[in-house]
């Protein structure tokens, strides 16, 4: 069957679909405000008229391409093209500032490729087994997973970013996340009677504000991102740093596992991978100042999500995240019902689709490697050109997400707020973590309490929960010990 699937993939139409999908995916991912979810959703009506396989391949290509594409502007301009690339920006941009933008891009594309390919391989080989694994995660586990992510705030503190400030930023994120409808009672919280706020502060516009717009504000007054143009020549000759394998592996595995949990997205996968890398690194001090290890883990993490998220989508009909949900819609349109039949009766098509994802990964690898020296030049764009263009796309992207004017103000407000926070030494990464994970923690906690009839025991009497507690402790102990030591030294 695999052979047949390969044959159906090797037709000119299919090959063109992979190519077109991946290239446009990289483009979509690279534009702040355009997301993979949006692109895949918009493609669905187009796929009505196409063969089911061609349509799926196209959407798969966009998905893979966009996950990688988001990292390009994240590294070069600190304006992540997709939310999943925020963690990449934390390390990638400082690298660019030092003139290592080309290298960061190379690390990013290779890690993306490895992470993506690994997760698709898992999807191809052991999807049904892992789907069962995804199902053992219930509300209590989602709460613990969110806590696991929030632990990252502690490790974001270092000599310059004081722990107390990181915690305050995280709390600020959690507070912003409170705005909207209470997930359990349906009560409105701090919505100020604005319908636009009923679903909470839109995440993407807030992110665009905090990263893109604040970055443009900070750039005013400088000539270009890189201080010394002489560093540019070095880019091509820079050797690939050693010892990244471990971090790519961490990212790939984390991305795949987080991806296959229904509802958890690439953003969380990237942040968790980044955090794990930070814990395991020998160069902890370098983090936050341009460590390629962080880029490698984050990018392997968000691309690892692709294969992971498709596992529950194809086997159970439960989309792993919003892009997978849109893809699922595309499947159902053609009367293809997720489940065992998809791998037997419609096996040629399903395996064709999975194999096409390998190809998509390969395509963006080639594009990325070939183009990165050219992309890297973006960092030399004079700011008088760069600032208006990026701001324009940022505003456009904020509005386009929900067709909401309020979102533009959210973006602008977050932009100004972020500049102030950064100048005063509060960590943006911690704030983002709070913002993303707050709702997950809250929903998981309240749902678990309902499930357990108000008894806290539900968080401790399930084996999967115990394992998560152990990981949380493991992540928490080293930084806490460090803080104590530092305290004593003083």
């Amino acid at each position: 069957m695999i052979f047949q699937a390969l044959q159906s993939l090797m037709t000119p139409t299919s090959l063109f679909a992979v190519f077109a999908g991946t290239v446009s995916g990289v483009f979509v991912g690279g534009m702040p405000g355009l997301t993979a979810t949006m692109a895949v959703a918009l493609l669905i009506p187009v796929t009505f008229t196409l063969e089911p396989l061609t349509g799926l391949i196209l959407m798969g290509g966009v998905y893979c391409g966009a996950m990688y594409g988001g990292s390009i502007p994240a590294i070069l301009l600190r304006t992540p093209g997709t939310p999943a690339a925020v963690a990449t920006a934390l390390e990638g941009y400082p690298m660019s500032q030092k003139g290592h933008g080309g290298l960061a891009l190379k690390v990013s594309v290779i890690s993306s490729f490895v992470g993506g390919t690994f997760s698709v391989l898992i999807l191809l080989l052991i999807a049904p087994i892992l789907a069962q694994f995804a199902l053992i995660f219930g509300p209590p586990e989602y709460f613990l997973l969110a806590i696991l992510g929030l632990v990252g705030i502690v490790s974001m503190a270092d000599d310059e970013n004081k722990l107390i400030k990181a915690l305050i930023s995280g709390l600020l994120g959690l507070i912003i996340a409170l705005i909207g409808t209470d997930p359990i009672s349906g009560m409105l919280r701090y919505t100020m009677n604005m319908t636009d706020l009923y679903d909470g502060v839109a995440f993407l516009p807030a992110l665009i504000g905090m990263f893109s717009i604040s970055q443009m504000l900070e750039l005013t007054g400088t000539k270009s991102i890189i201080f010394e143009p002489s560093t540019m020549k070095k880019i091509k000759r820079e050797p690939f740093p050693k010892g990244l394998k471990k971090f790519i592996a961490i990212g790939s595995a984390t991305g795949t596992i987080v991806g296959l949990l229904p509802g958890e997205g690439a953003t969380i996968a990237a942040f968790l991978s980044y955090n794990f890398a930070r814990q395991h690194s020998k160069n902890k001090k370098l983090f936050g100042k341009g460590n390629p290890e962080g880029v490698a883990a984050a990018e392997a993490g968000n691309n690892g999500c692709v294969g992971g998220s498709l596992i529950p989508t194809l086997t159970l009909g439960i989309p792993g995240n919003s892009v997978a949900a849109a893809l699922l819609g595309g499947l159902l349109v053609h009367g293809l019902i997720p489940g065992p039949e998809l791998f037997t009766k419609y096996g040629v098509m399903t395996y064709g689709f999975i194999l096409s994802l390998f190809l998509a990964n390969l395509i963006f690898l080639v594009i990325g490697l070939y183009m990165s020296p050219y992309f890297a030049r973006i960092a030399f764009t004079p700011t008088e050109l760069l600032i208006p263009v990026v701001c324009l796309f940022s505003i456009l992207g904020s509005y386009a997400m929900n067709n909401s004017l309020l979102d533009i103000f959210v973006a602008l407000l977050c932009g100004i707020g972020a500049v102030i926070l950064q100048k005063t030494g509060f960590s943006l990464g911690a704030l983002i973590l709070g913002l993303i994970l707050g709702p997950i923690a809250e929903t998981g906690f309240s749902q678990a309490m309902i499930m357990g009839n108000g008894n806290y025991a539900i968080f401790f009497d399930r084996p999967q929960g115990i394992i998560l507690w152990l990981i949380i402790l493991l992540l928490l102990i080293p930084p806490v010990i460090q803080i104590f030591r530092r305290h004593r030294q003083k």
Partner: protein, 313 residues
């Protein structure tokens, strides 16, 4: 000069006459109060495909206004210019539930109801290895001990259906609100809850694949999607609950334009190609004309008001 004026007058009336006769003279915007790619959005896109065949020269464009359970979109429809060039999709029970909970900045009187297009009846599902094999066992168990059931948020169709069961049978449910069908599916397939109230199109695939078990359909008749699935009424529990999806325009559209639009929906509903496309997409069609659907909405609002008064949310 007089000739010129005469000519101008004639031309003026001729053109306005033409414009009147020539509805639609420009693109008709359809406001869809949900995300692109969802089933409401898909219905609207299928509608457009068919509508172009029945209204010659007409062009349609979709504007997705997702968020807040459709409320943002409903408000935008109610506030748009009633010139016949903005119509919208709406869905129940959300459109009336927002009115009942006093959040909406519209009432049903702000709309001209074109008619209903589709429905999505509710079902009760249990995990595949649940101790409850049928509805009777499920309800009996819920009478003695609170069962945890997942619903799609407070005030949703799932929530109302569960409340209806509680009122009719004396069963007690521990309601677990979720963010939507994805979460509900994961809870049922993972066996984290005792049961779930959801829509048939959301879970029929898993029922067929054997990963979840649907025990009852809350509709007056069996569904063609799962013909073997008994209705709750057959099983002795006369509870009916279905989501519906229809078309409205803002109030005050010129009468003949409104008639044209109503007729268009009727024509589309009878279009065999449209019917086939909907069947393929698992969209269950159910036509109700404007008046009938309006009465349905008024009745639904009164019914939900009752639940709201007893347990407000």
């Amino acid at each position: 000069m007089r000739k010129f004026l005469l000519l101008a007058t004639i031309l003026f009336f001729a053109f306005t006459g033409l414009a009147l006769a020539g509805y639609p003279a420009k693109t008709i915007k359809i406001i869809v109060p949900s995300k692109a790619g969802g089933s409401t959005d898909t219905s609207a896109r299928l509608f457009i495909n068919a509508a172009k065949r029945h209204m010659k020269g007409a062009n349609f464009v979709i504007k997705n206004v997702p968020g807040s359970g459709g409320q943002k979109g409903f408000e935008e429809i109610a506030n748009s210019k009633p010139d016949g060039y903005t119509i919208g999709m709406m869905f129940t029970p959300q459109i009336v539930a927002h009115i009942v909970s006093k959040r909406a900045r519209y009432t049903l009187d702000d709309f001209h109801v074109m008619g209903n297009m589709g429905k999505d009846p509710l079902i009760i599902a249990v995990p595949k290895n649940s101790p409850f094999k049928n509805l009777k066992e499920f309800i009996d168990a819920a009478r003695t001990k609170k069962l945890t059931v997942a619903v799609n948020g407070i005030g949703s169709d799932d929530f109302v259906a569960a409340k209806k069961f509680e009122n009719l049978t004396g069963a007690k449910f521990n309601l677990l609100p979720t963010k939507g069908s994805t979460e509900q599916k994961a809870l049922i397939l993972g066996g984290h809850v005792d049961g779930s109230f959801m829509n048939i199109t959301q879970l029929h695939a898993q029922h067929k694949a054997g990963t979840a078990h649907i025990i009852a359909l809350l509709d007056s008749k069996r569904s063609y999607i799962l013909p073997d699935l008994p209705t709750a009424e057959e099983l002795g529990y006369p509870v009916d609950m279905t989501a519906t999806r229809g078309f409205v325009t803002p109030k005050g559209v010129p009468e003949d334009t409104a008639k044209k639009l109503d007729k268009l929906l009727e024509d589309v509903m009878n279009d065999p190609e449209f019917i086939a496309a909907c069947k393929k997409d698992v969209i269950i069609l159910k036509h109700m004309k404007g008046k009938e659907y309006h009465d349905y909405l008024v009745g639904l609002q009164a019914e939900i008001q009752k639940f709201f008064d007893s347990t407000p949310w």
